[in-house]
């Protein structure tokens, strides 16, 4: 695969506008934040809007195909800097980056818009928009880069931005802890990618995608080295996309403001791992072992996330585990080689998950920052818009036809079967059922029955409010209960959610039509033959598979209805919820002890090592060396100072003796 040299000559302004508009917005708001105050929001929105419009304007260039010699090239390329041979840095604009940029800037704009309502009155209002714009810039850097180093830079900046945003309410210790946890886990991923870059540069001598993929196609990598490179890249994916065992930062990251959860933890950042694998598919095509591993980890994550979602009481944590589970689906898809299905699921998921989070934000905002579903209930009549919005998005995530989630999830699940992974198919179907169960559990508890907000939490078995996800400090005090009584203009928050309905309902139709669907046509130039449907390898047809999935989903909904939705359950909801809270299995409450295991296996040994170095190695070895070097320097200075007398004749004598020594030396050499 040769380097893109066509498409765009010179400086391609729209691409720079897409890339840099959010950065400009962030800098302006950062620099003038205190004096901008209420203008921070509109400026932040405008920056993303510019980026989005530039994306639409350059759509054709992303999908343009050019024939150069024997190969067909797709998209456009903008070179930026050449450091050395093989170290060209540039921007790549092709259908895959287009897909991501559309979501980042499009849904990102809606979330910015929503934030103007949600964050109104917060004392960090301007700072919030600076961080959000900076995050979008970092994400665009990641997606638009044409080389691994640019990717890593974007990857790291995204981690930094998420650190800012998760820890936005820095007065809360829990938010700071969550931000730190997310950052540290993400850095683990950064290091993984760094090692992958070392391997790639060592083998092909270049950091650009094109050279690396050409090297993989030409079998320059030995199988074990390619496997290692993929493995290292996957460490990055696992950290960023919250795959087992690096997943535990994602639920904690719900400490950030709700729009942050929608932007970072649903629509963009956590799907960067999917992007990385989809972008580097030629590497994965070369290593079947690596694909196997990715598929298995994706399946495990999908299932584990769903199981943990069952046990959550915090509305945002339920959504966080569903995110983890859905990303497991995407990773599973790209792991079995169904790259287009994985990217499609990213695309539809961005819509309905953003809608879920933003709707949850509507509820949390109206309930004065209450996040525990046990203290909700009966919101169907109080917030009808939130109810319908949440229901539509939930039906979409459960995969009910003809909503968006149905098409993408079915594509993922069926593709695992088509590509010969029946065990992953089983996991996919099972996870779909559990997803339907816990999502409808949330719907029933939140929206049906009686309102429980005025019930004493201890009656519901809530003993430790700080562990139940209730904010320890109210972020911004609101008066009143009903959303119509709020001082913020509610339409600012309702309008973006209403726009998201469109994608949540219709986005999946892009995939109708198999090999001739718009989606397939868009991505085929990127993935080539890798995504063509293999013929007749599945034991059941796609229609039967869809029916199986749907049946399992209906079963999940039915169980949720029996447990939480029917008249009996709704009547004595309080006692049932208390019972469930008390009898929740410890293994679920403690999230399969993953944090405990990481603490025991990694954190404690690291601390011990750090203590060893801090107490022994550093003071003795390092400090000792430095001290000795200082003493030696002083001694040498004393020695040479005595030579510097200023007596000219002494100098002359020294020179004479020196010259004499030379003469004697050469005389001896000449004699021998």
């Amino acid at each position: 695969m040769p380097q893109h040299v066509m498409g765009v000559e010179g400086v391609y302004m729209p691409l720079f506008a897409i890339w840099l508009a959010p950065l400009v917005g962030a800098i302006i708001i950062w620099a003038f934040g205190p004096s901008l105050r209420s203008w921070g929001g509109p400026i932040g929105c405008a920056a993303i809007a510019v980026s989005f419009l530039a994306t639409l304007a350059s759509w054709n260039d992303a999908t343009r195909q050019t024939v150069a010699g024997a190969t067909t090239l797709v998209g456009a390329h903008q070179s930026l800097v050449t450091w050395a041979k093989g170290f060209n840095v540039g921007l790549l604009w092709d259908p895959l980056s287009l897909t991501w940029v559309l979501i980042i800037t499009g849904i990102g704009f809606l979330i910015h818009f929503y934030s103007m309502g949600y964050m109104a009155g917060d004392k960090g209002y301007a700072r919030f928009f600076a961080y959000m714009n900076f995050f979008v810039f970092a994400m665009l850097t990641l997606v638009l880069s044409d080389n691994f180093v640019g990717l890593l830079i974007g990857w790291g900046l995204v981690g930094l931005a998420s650190f800012f945003l998760i820890g936005f309410w820095y007065e809360r210790p829990s938010a700071v802890a969550a931000a730190t946890k997310a950052f540290v886990m993400n850095v683990v991923g950064d290091v993984g990618i760094l090692f992958a870059i070392f391997i790639i540069v060592a083998v092909v001598g270049s950091i650009s995608y094109a050279d690396a993929f050409a090297g993989a196609a030409a079998h320059k990598f030995s199988p074990s080295l390619l496997y290692l490179a993929c493995l290292m890249l996957f460490v990055g994916c696992a950290a960023k996309s919250a795959q087992v065992p690096l997943h535990s930062w994602l639920p904690d990251a719900m400490e950030g403001p709700t729009p942050v959860s929608a932007l970072i933890h649903a629509a963009t950042m956590v799907t960067a791992g999917v992007y990385l694998i989809a972008r580097c598919w030629p590497l994965w095509q070369g290593s079947a072992d690596a694909r196997e591993l990715v598929g298995i980890i994706g399946g495990v994550t999908a299932l584990l996330g769903a199981i943990l979602g069952v046990a959550q009481w915090d509305i945002k944590r339920i959504l966080a585990y569903s995110t983890m589970s859905q990303i497991g689906y995407m990773i599973m898809a790209v792991g079995v080689g169904a790259y287009d299905a994985g990217v499609l699921h990213f695309f539809t998921h961005a819509w309905f998950k953003a809608q879920l989070f933003l709707t949850a934000g509507l509820i949390i905002h109206a309930l004065n920052n209450e996040q525990d579903v046990r203290l909700m209930g009966g919101l169907r009549t109080r917030q009808p818009f939130a109810f319908w919005s949440m229901t539509i998005a939930t039906l979409s995530i459960c995969g009910v036809p003809p909503l968006a989630g149905f098409f993408s999830k079915d594509a993922v699940v069926y593709d695992t079967l088509l590509r010969g992974h029946p065990e992953l198919y089983a996991v996919g179907v099972l996870t779909a059922g559990i997803t339907a169960y816990y999502m409808f559990r949330m719907i029933f508890i939140t929206f049906f029955g009686e309102y429980r907000g005025d019930v004493d939490p201890s009656n519901l078995g809530i003993r430790h409010p700080e562990f139940a996800g209730t904010p320890a400090v109210a972020e911004h005090a609101h008066e009143g209960f009903d959303e119509h009584e709020h001082h913020t203009p509610v339409w600012l928050m309702v309008a973006p959610v209403a726009v998201l309905w469109i994608g949540t309902i219709f986005a999946g139709f892009l995939n109708v039509g198999g090999d001739s669907s718009p989606w397939h046509k868009l991505l085929e130039p990127v993935f080539g033959a890798a995504i063509s449907y293999p013929e007749g390898t599945a034991p059941v047809s796609e229609l039967i598979s869809s029916a199986i999935v749907l049946a399992v989903v209906i079963l999940g909904v039915a169980i949720a209805y029996v447990r939480y939705g029917n008249a009996g359950a709704l009547r004595d909801a309080i006692s049932r919820l208390r019972e469930e809270t008390v009898w929740m299995p410890a293994i679920l409450v403690h999230l399969f002890y993953f944090d405990l295991a990481i603490d025991a296996l990694l954190v404690r040994p690291s601390r011990a090592l750090g203590f060893l170095f801090g107490q022994l190695v550093d003071p003795l070895v390092i400090d000792g060396t430095v001290r000795e070097a200082r003493v030696s320097a002083v001694w040498l200075g004393h020695l040479f100072r005595s030579f510097q007398t200023g007596l000219v004749r002494a100098y002359a004598l020294t020179i004479v003796f020196g010259a004499a020594a030379f003469i004697v030396y050469y005389a001896i050499v000449a004699v021998h």
Binding site: Q644, T645, G646, L647, V648, R649, A652, L653, V656
Partner: protein
């Protein structure tokens, strides 16, 4: 009668060592300058002797170069000495040690 090159070189070495002795042993800068002058001349003698022995003009060229440089050096040296004398009312090179870095 033909004189061997080695004799010229020996004479040159002797003159050079006298010059070195003058520079190292005396405190009067004028005497030191004269010692340096002797060393230059010893070098010139060696150049000319070799030039004659090997029938090469390079030695003559270098000798002229040395004469020029020696003249310049004497001029600068004398100027420095005059200035030092104006300041210190005597000329002892060891007193110039106050200029050490």
């Amino acid at each position: 009668m033909q004189v061997a090159v080695a004799n010229y070189i020996a004479l040159s070495a002797i003159i050079f060592m006298i010059g070195v002795g003058g520079v190292v042993a005396r405190r009067n800068p004028l005497i030191m300058l004269m010692g340096i002058e002797l060393m230059w001349n010893a070098a010139n003698l060696a150049f000319i002797a070799y030039a004659k022995a090997y029938m090469s003009n390079a030695g003559h060229v270098f000798a002229f170069l040395v004469i020029t440089v020696a003249a310049a050096e004497a001029a600068i040296g004398l100027a420095i000495i005059v200035i030092v004398f104006r300041r210190a009312e005597n000329v002892d090179v060891d007193d110039v040690a106050v200029l050490k870095g």
